[in-house]
C-alpha cells in the first residue's frame, strides 16, 4: 500500500511539474525528425510542418498527417515518476539518471515519430496494403511496428529505462561490496 502511494504521489508530482513544460518538448524535437525524414524520403514525399502543437504536417504530394505531441510527453512523466519512486537509487543516481533517461527517450521519440509518419504515409498512399490477400511485406512490417509502439512500447520504454538505471545501480553496489574486503586486506598489509 505504501509502495502504491509512493508511485501515485510521484506520478501526480511529475504531472504537475511537467504540465507547463511539456508542449515545448514536441516543438523542440519535431523539426529534427522532419529533417531526418526529408533526408531519408524520396523527393515526392518531402515533408513540411504546418503546426507544432499538435504536430501537423503535409507531404509534397498534398497528403497530410498529424500526431499529438502529448502522446510523447506522458512518456517523460512516466520516466520522472519511475526515477522518483523506484527503490534502491541514491539521489545522485536519480539526478544522473534524469538527463541520461531524457536523452535516451528523445532518441526513442525520433524513431517513434518517423515510424508514425511512415505508417500514415502508407495508409494514405497504399491503402490496398490492408488487403491481406496480396500482402506487402514493408506495409505489414510498418503497421505491426507502429501498432506495437503505440499500444505497447510507448508505455514500456520509460519504465525499461528506469529498470536499466536500477539494474546498473544494483550492479555497482554489488561491485562495491565485493571490492571492500580487498581494501581492508590491503590496509592490513
Amino acid at each position: 500500500m505504501r509502495l502504491a502511494g509512493r508511485w501515485l504521489a510521484a506520478f501526480a508530482l511529475a504531472n504537475l511539474l511537467c504540465w507547463p513544460l511539456l508542449p515545448g518538448y514536441a516543438a523542440l524535437l519535431a523539426p529534427w525528425v522532419g529533417s531526418i525524414w526529408n533526408v531519408l524520403a524520396a523527393a515526392d514525399n518531402a515533408l513540411h510542418w504546418q503546426t507544432l502543437e499538435p504536430l501537423r504536417w503535409t507531404w509534397e504530394s498534398g497528403l497530410a498527417g498529424q500526431q499529438s505531441g502529448r502522446m510523447w510527453t506522458w512518456n517523460l512523466t512516466l520516466l520522472l515518476t519511475g526515477l522518483a519512486a523506484v527503490d534502491g537509487l541514491t539521489w545522485r543516481q536519480r539526478l544522473i539518471g534524469l538527463p541520461a533517461g531524457i536523452g535516451a527517450l528523445a532518441i526513442w521519440h525520433v524513431f517513434d515519430l518517423l515510424l508514425s509518419m511512415e505508417s500514415q504515409w502508407l495508409t494514405l498512399h497504399q491503402p490496398e496494403g490492408y488487403n491481406l490477400a496480396s500482402p506487402s511485406l514493408w506495409f505489414l512490417l510498418i503497421k505491426f511496428l507502429n501498432n506495437l509502439t503505440v499500444l505497447g512500447l510507448r508505455q514500456l520504454v520509460p519504465l525499461l529505462l528506469v529498470a536499466a538505471a536500477w539494474q546498473l545501480a544494483r550492479l555497482r553496489s554489488k561491485g562495491a561490496a565485493v571490492q571492500q574486503p580487498h581494501h581492508g586486506a590491503d590496509q592490513q598489509q
Binding site: 504540465w19 502529448r70 512516466l78 515518476t81 506495437l148 499500444l151 505497447g152 514500456l156 519504465l159
Partner: protein, 166 residues
Amino acid sequence: MLLLVWLAALHGVWQLERRTTNRYLDRPLTVAVTAMSGLVADVILPFPVERRGDSVLASGNTAVIVRAGCNGAEALLLMLAGILAVPASSSMRLAALARYLPALFVLNLVRVVGLLFVMVRFPSSIGWMHDQVAQGVMIVAVLLMWMDHLRRLDLSARGQPVSEAA
C-alpha cells in the same frame, strides 16, 4: 527481453485478429467496455449519457469513442506479457491473471467515464487528461500490479504465506 518478445507476439495476434475477423478479441472487448462504461456513467455522472452503436458513449454533442487504446487493450496485453515473461507455475499465473485483468478492466471503465466527465465539464483539459494523465495512471497501475505479482512469487518461492508481508 522475454517481456518484449511476449508483448510483440501478443500484439501480433491481436492485430491479425483485428484486421481479419475482428470478432473474438478487440471488438468484443470494445463492446463490453462501452456497455459497462455506459452503465457506470448512468449511475455516477451528474448528466444523462447515451450509448451510440458499439463503441461510442455520448452526452449531448460530446462523445467518447472507445476503440483500440481506449478499450484498455494496451494495459491488458502489457499485464499479460508481464505475467508470461516471469517464470512461475501455471496456477500462479492463472491466479495472477484472475486477480489483475479484471482489476485493470474496472480501472479502465473508471478512466472512460472520467474522460467523458472531463470532456463535458472541462473540455479544455481533455487533451492533457486523455493523452497524459489517464494513460499514465493505467501504466502505473500495471506496474504496481506486476510488482505485486513478483512479490507474491518471491514469497511463494520462500514458502511464506502471501498475507504475511502484505
